[in-house]
Structure formats: C-alpha cells, structure tokens
C-alpha cells in the first residue's frame, strides 16, 4: 500500500510540473510586459522597460519560469502589484472561507444524494424514483447563478428568511457563527452536485443490487434494510468516491459564481476581481491551485478506493 501511494505521489508531482509549465507559458503569451499593466498606458515605453528590467521580466521566458518554480518551492507565489500584497497572503486570507463553503456544500450534497440514490435504486421506476430523477435533471440543468438568484428573490427578498449576502468576516468560523447567512450559498452550491451524485449513486446501487452477494445476504435471512447498510452501501459508494475526487476543483470553480452572487469573500471572488484587474501573478497562482486540486483530488480518490476495495492491484 505504501508503495502504491508513493508511486501515485510521484506521478502526481510530474503532472503538477507539466501543468505549471503550460499555465506559465500561456499567461506569458497573454501578457508579455507586466510593466505596461502595472504602470498603465500613459507611462513612457522607457519606464515600462525599466520596470521590466528591474523585476527581471526582460529575461528569456524559460529562465523566468525556472525562477518562478524556485520561488514556488520556497512557498512564494509571487506578488500582486495591483493589491501590493504577497499572493500567498491573499490566498491564505480567502482559502479557509472558500474551503468551508465548498466543504459544507459537498457534505450537504452527499448527505442527501447517497441515501436518495440508494432509495431510488431499491424502488426503481416507482413514483419516488421518477420524481427524484426529474427533479435531479431540472437542478442539473439549472445554472447556479439562476438558482441563486431565484433563491435570493424568494427566500431573502420576499420571505425575508435569509440574508442575501453572506457574512463579510474573513474568519472561516463565520460559517458556524453565521448559519443563516451561509444557508443560501451552501444550498445553491449543493443543488447542482446533488443531482449528479444521486444519479451516479442510483446506477451504481442498481449495479450492486444485481450482484449475487445481495441474493446470498437475503438467503441468510437479513432484513432488507440490513442488506442495504451492511452489504450494499460500501460497495455502491466506490464510484462516488472517484467522482467526488474529480469534482474537487469543479467545486472551486462553482465557488466563483456562488461567491460573486452572494458577495462572499473567498478565492472565487478574489479570482473574479483579479481577472478584471489583469492581476496576472494572482491569476497564475489561482490556476495553478486549480491544477493542484485536480491532481490532489484524483490522488486522494485513488488512494481511498484502493484502501476501501482490496481488489485493486496495489503493487502495480
């Protein structure tokens, strides 16, 4: 098992290196002269050249990239000239809150989707199954900004049950201290994933229900509910683990919309603002983080599946 983890880790590191190179060179193509962006259009070309020279932006791009890599290894993500702040500081300020939002959304989605999917499989083609499938597809097809706006209009503006804006505190604990403010963002975030998770869980549970060991469990005299919890649940969740792993970065991207909709100060909002400000060091760091989360999510999913299902050839 340890060997398997190490092997996967080494592969993940290589993938990360590739991502960083591609992202760095692509952003370099978009903005060859950071001096122009930082200093503005009215400054003389000489001043821009001087700025670029001072910060080393006139060196060959490969050298710049290697330099950036060296910084990265020391935990230095560069500096945002627009905000005049270290990128790592900015990300650290916002990451905790974003993570809390994503996590709350993910937990809520799973808590609904796993039992729902299994129930749908057990009562397949029944009224509940059809209704749940219909609702799932509707939610899946609804863009989250539309769903968020509808929720705000109904529950915030008309009913006045929840605030339309989340707490502005930078502390991740705000999630717990301000449950009402978090309600609508979390629901908006979870809604889309519930649909995907439940449909996956349903088909995987249907698959497992057809396996012989379920019939054997029945022949032992177990109650249907015992069969579901003791035998079906774990086996039916395997594909979901992989899915959740691959969705980790998507949840981050989903945050962009939800965070801007509810004016929730997190990474998504930071990204959106730096996009408008052409704040390239920040954009670079954010994109790299997306890549990192994708790789990390897949890595975690693989390791978890290998740990839960011993049939995976671990030595391979």
């Amino acid at each position: 098992m340890a060997k398997y983890v190490l092997h996967r880790l080494a592969v993940s590191a290589l993938v990360m290196l590739g991502i960083s190179a591609v992202v760095y060179f692509m952003l370099h193509l978009v903005s060859e002269s950071p001096g122009r962006i930082v200093l503005g259009q009215r400054v003389s070309p000489e001043a821009v050249a001087a700025f670029n020279h001072q910060h080393g932006f006139d060196r060959p791009v490969v050298v710049q990239y290697l330099d950036y890599l060296k910084q990265l290894l020391h935990g230095d993500l560069g500096r945002s000239y627009k905000l005049n702040e270290n990128v790592s500081t900015l990300i650290a300020q916002n990451a905790g809150r974003s993570a809390m939002l994503s996590l709350a959304g993910l937990v809520l989605a799973l808590a609904i989707a796993v039992p729902l999917g299994i129930l749908q499989a057990v009562r397949r083609n029944g009224l509940l199954d059809r209704a749940a499938t219909a609702v799932s597809y509707m939610l899946y097809a609804t863009p989250s900004f539309l769903l968020g706006l509808v929720l705000i209009a109904v529950f915030s503006q008309q009913a006045g049950l929840f605030p339309a804006e989340a707490s502005q505190s930078h502390s991740p604990w705000a999630v717990f201290t301000d449950p009402r403010g978090m309600t609508l963002p979390v629901i908006t975030l979870a809604a889309g994933s519930v649909a995907v998770f439940a449909q996956h869980q349903r088909s995987s549970a249907l698959d497992q229900l057809g396996q012989d060991y379920i019939r054997v469990a029945r022949a032992k005299g177990l109650r249907e509910r015992q069969i579901l919890t003791r035998h079906l649940l774990r086996n039916a969740c395997m594909p979901l683990i992989t899915l959740v792993g691959t969705l980790v970065p998507t949840v981050l991207a989903g945050n962009v919309i939800v965070e801007s909709l509810f004016n929730y100060p997190g990474l998504g909002l930071l990204f959106l603002n730096s996009l408008q400000r052409e704040d390239y060091p920040l954009l670079l760091a954010y994109t790299l983080m997306g890549g990192f989360l994708t790789v990390a999510g897949n890595f975690l999913a693989d390791v978890m599946v290998a740990a839960a299902d011993r049939r995976i050839e671990v030595g391979k």
Partner: protein, 632 residues
Amino acid sequence: MDSQKNLIVRGLSVEIRRGDRLVRPVADVTLELGRGETLGIVGETGSGKSMTGLAIMGMLPAGGRVTGGSIELGGRDLLAMDPRRYRGGEIAMIFQDSLTSLNPTKKIVEQVAEPVRLHRGESRRAARERAREMLARVGVQRDDYPHQLSGGQRQRVMIAMALVCEPEVVIADEPTTALDVTVQAEILDLLDELRAQRGMSMILITHDMGVIAQRADRVGVMYAGRVAESAPTAEIFERTRHRYTRALLSSIPTLGQDKDKELFSIPGAPPDLARPEPGCPFAPRCDAASDKCREELPPFNGTHACWHPVDGPVTSAGRGRFTLSEPGGTLLRVVDLVREHPAGRRTVKAVSGISFEVAAGETFGLVGESGCGKSSLGRLLVGLDRPDSGEVVIGGEKVTRPRPAVQMMFQDCSAALDPRMRIERILREPLAIHGIGDRQERVRRLLDDVGLPESVLDRYPYELSGGQRQRVGLARALALDPQVLVADEPVSALDVSIRSQVLNLMRRVQAERGLSGVVISHDLAVVRYLADRVGVMYLGKLVETGTTDEVFGAAAHPYTAGLLAAVPEGERTGTPVRGEPPSPVDPPSGCRFRTRCALATEECARTEPPMTPIDGTHRVACHYPLREGRNG
C-alpha cells in the same frame, strides 16, 4: 408417515408478473424430502427448478408470488410465516459460485459469522469463533477477502455460510456448475459428508445427470415448470417412465458411448412459459405424442406425468452414423508455442512450449482444468494473439494475424455476437471485410448448413435462443470457408437437449466440408465425441497426447487418469485428482503436476519429463507412466 418427511411441497404454483407479461415458472409441483435424504431436482434452463428452490426460501424475484399449494417444514406452514424467520437458519441455500457471490469488501469470517449473529443472537466475538470453526470444517483456514480465494475455496465459504447455523434443510442450486470436475468432486464429497454428519436433508438442484446419479437418493425431473417424473435415483435410470426423461438421458454424451453414432437429440426447444398451450408441455418435441397429449394435460400420478410412459432403461441413440474419413496430410502445425501474459510485475505463464499437428479432416481435442492455458492457446491458433516464441503454421503459411483459413467458434455467443447487429449483418460482415461477392446467396447457404430458418436474418442476437445463437456462431465461423475450425467450449453454455443438437451439427458440417478442427473443452465427454486425437493440458504444457481411444481408454499420465476418475458418470473408479492447480505465475519445477501427484518423487521435482512415445501415436510426459511402452 409424515413424521419421516421433513419438507413437503404440495401443488406449488408460482407466477411472475413483469409489466404485461405473466409467466408461470412453477406449476403444480409436489415434492417430498425425507429426513437426512438428498432429493435431486434436474431440468434444463427455465424448467422451474431454481424457482422452486427460491419459492421454498420465500425469495421469489420482484413481481413473483405463490399462487397455490403449500410448503410445510416439520408440520409448519412456511407460506404463512415470515420467511426471514426460517431463511438462513432452518433452511439455507447454496448458490452457484460466481465472482460476486461474496461481498467483495468484507473478509470471509465476518461474512460467515453474519447468520450466527442474526439467528442465534450471539455476540460478535462468539459468532466469529463459530464462523472460524465452520470454515476450518470446510477446509478454509484463513481470513481473507473473497478475491484472494480460488473458485473452489469460494464455494467452500458459501457452504460454510449456509451450514453455520445447522439448518434442517439445505437447498444447493447448481453448487458445482462453475467449477472444474476435479473441484466438483471435492465439493460434492464435502456436502455429502456434512449432510450425513448433521442429519440434514438436501435438495440438490442441477442440470447434470451424472451428479444426480451419484449423489441423490431420489430424483425429480422437471420440464416447463412441472414435475415430469419422480422416483428413487436407481429407478430413474433403470426404469425410466417419462418420455422426456428418456430423451434427456439419451442425449447426454458419455465417455463410454459409440462415437461413430450420432447423438440422440430432442428436436425443438422448451415451450414459452408466457404462452402456455393445453396438453402435455413436452408433446411438441415428443416422438410418441398423440392427439390426447396435445389436448389434455397428463396428471402426475406420484411417479410420472405421461400418457404414454415407457418402461425400461435408456437404450436409444441417434439414428445417423458418421462415416469416418481417413485423415490427409498435416494441415496445421504448432511448434513450441510460448505465451506469457504480464500481470503487474509478474508474468502468467499461460502457454509454455506446446507442439502438435492436425491433419486435414482431423479434429484435435484439448482438455484441461480452467487456467491451464487452453483458451490462450486457442487465441494463438487463430491469430488473435501472438506467441512470444514458436509458431503456428497452416498449409505452409505462418499465422501471425487473423486469417480466413482458421476461424473460431466462441463459447458464449450472446457475448461474441454484436448485440446491435441483425443476424444478416453479422453473417455478411466477414464476407464484406474480405470482399467476397454474392453475399446474399452465401448467407442463405450458410443458414441452410447450420439448420436455421431464413426468418432469423432480420432478428437481433438477443431474440434467438441459446442454441440458435450457437448455430449463428458456427455459421459466422464457416462464412469464410476456413480449413480449420477452432471451437472454444462450443456447447458449455447450452442445455443438455440443445447441446446434442449442436454437437451433431458440428460433426456433420465438419464431415461434409472436410474441415479440420481444434476443440477446446473442460468436458471430457464432449471432446471424446468430437475429436479424433486429444491432448491433455496442464499448466501450459501438454502432458499426454494420442487418439481419443488411447488417451481415454488407457490413460498413461496420472493427471489424465485423475481427471477421468473425477467425471461424475456411473460408478466411480480410480482416484480423482485432488485440490486445485497451482498458480501459472509460479509453476512448480520439474514436472508441473508433481504437487498434486500421488506418484511424485524427488526426480519429478528435479527434471522435467520429456514427451515419450508409449504405443503408436500415444505419447506421455511422465517419469512414472501408468502404462509402459511395448518396447520397454
């Protein structure tokens, strides 16, 4: 009298509704099971034998219900009880082994302990202790995940799981069908032993008449959801009454029969249970059916349900005879073939140096247990896979990729035929690939050759029966006019009555076309019927070759003799091979069979025995052959 009877099923009827379709898989079935007795239920797919078992367990599939009759266990009416109260405790069921019959994410002790906790209310620890004892009793002294066990071990775990609560009745549904004959014998011995020890009663559901003959006290023969005949085992074979039973017994290829004669075969296929016809369900396939048979259902009189019963042992064979043609010169030459498949960091040594020749018009049979490499060899023969070394030569040309001259007939045609193609396209495809004209005419002729009506051309594979699909598989293989037909387990997936039809067809087509054949099967009787010469494979090597009469009649290798002894057919003679073959990843040194051989000495571990002629074409690779050559 009833106190002697443990389980009594009277007039049981079951129906299953799926949408608009109403099927009656079990109709008016009456069975009695005495204490300590083994009742065999035999029948083909769809005969209702498994459904009867499931009805007793109260485990009918969705949409199914018991519509009539009664099931009593020790005087209690089971149909009035909640099945969970007796299921797994008083009546247990053993299913056919499959890779998924155990929960893949739980260790086996946990799984065996589950019924103990459930029915005996014992603590987790006590239940695990009991489970360990029971597992030791069936010969599995370990606690691993199911995928780490072999098929035979998994089936032992299934038995432990069923018997751990000491049920009064155990229902074993095809408990050994997925296993090799060698393992089958062991599992059946184990079941018999445990049954006798605990005074349990057993219902043994199987399609295998040989298993029934050896293991059951009484037999019920089922056809189309009804009991056709029921009698003590000896009487079924010696005083067969029902015409279906007689036809069934006649159509089974045996090791002792005259292979020049066509196998007896029952025409047609079993009836569709969704559309019941009046009269005897077997009447459309019965050669003695009268108007009465077609109009009036024969009642079950305690022993049989037939208007025109027979009386006497089975003697009938098919009418046709095969004229054996003299084989011509060598057509297919296999030279020192080696193929190893990488599996992680290790390699599976599937085929380790195999050589043989097949003459024009001759059929060569390959037998061996699962995992011996016979299917890997088959793929090499038709060019679906390339050898690591050695070569396959046909008519002087080396086979390196699939070619028209060698074609393959696959085991499971429902998987080998594209489900989204109509039969016509399936049969035209090989012709189109090789740019052969007049396809329409050729496809017609092919259908005619394999005995299928033209109406199947518009159908999809799933609309055909198993036998029809296998005929399509044969037609597809014949489409390119091959010189050699390689058939990998051609009839293993078929029911007995259909099996003999397909076997006869293969013999006839081969004789008509002068085809050479290579038949791969674990079923010795099938190989004996189809093949002129045979090679016995063990862990990637041939251990004995010769004519079928030489090898099956006077086996020289201890492995061949052990395989033959394991076949459940009539009286048991000799000692069957025990255990399961070692892993082909790391085969034993010297003679690969030595780890399971009673005659093995140190010499066998040191040097590998070469193939040595014994007599005529009979050759064996053994240091201590059971038969010496004429010249010493």
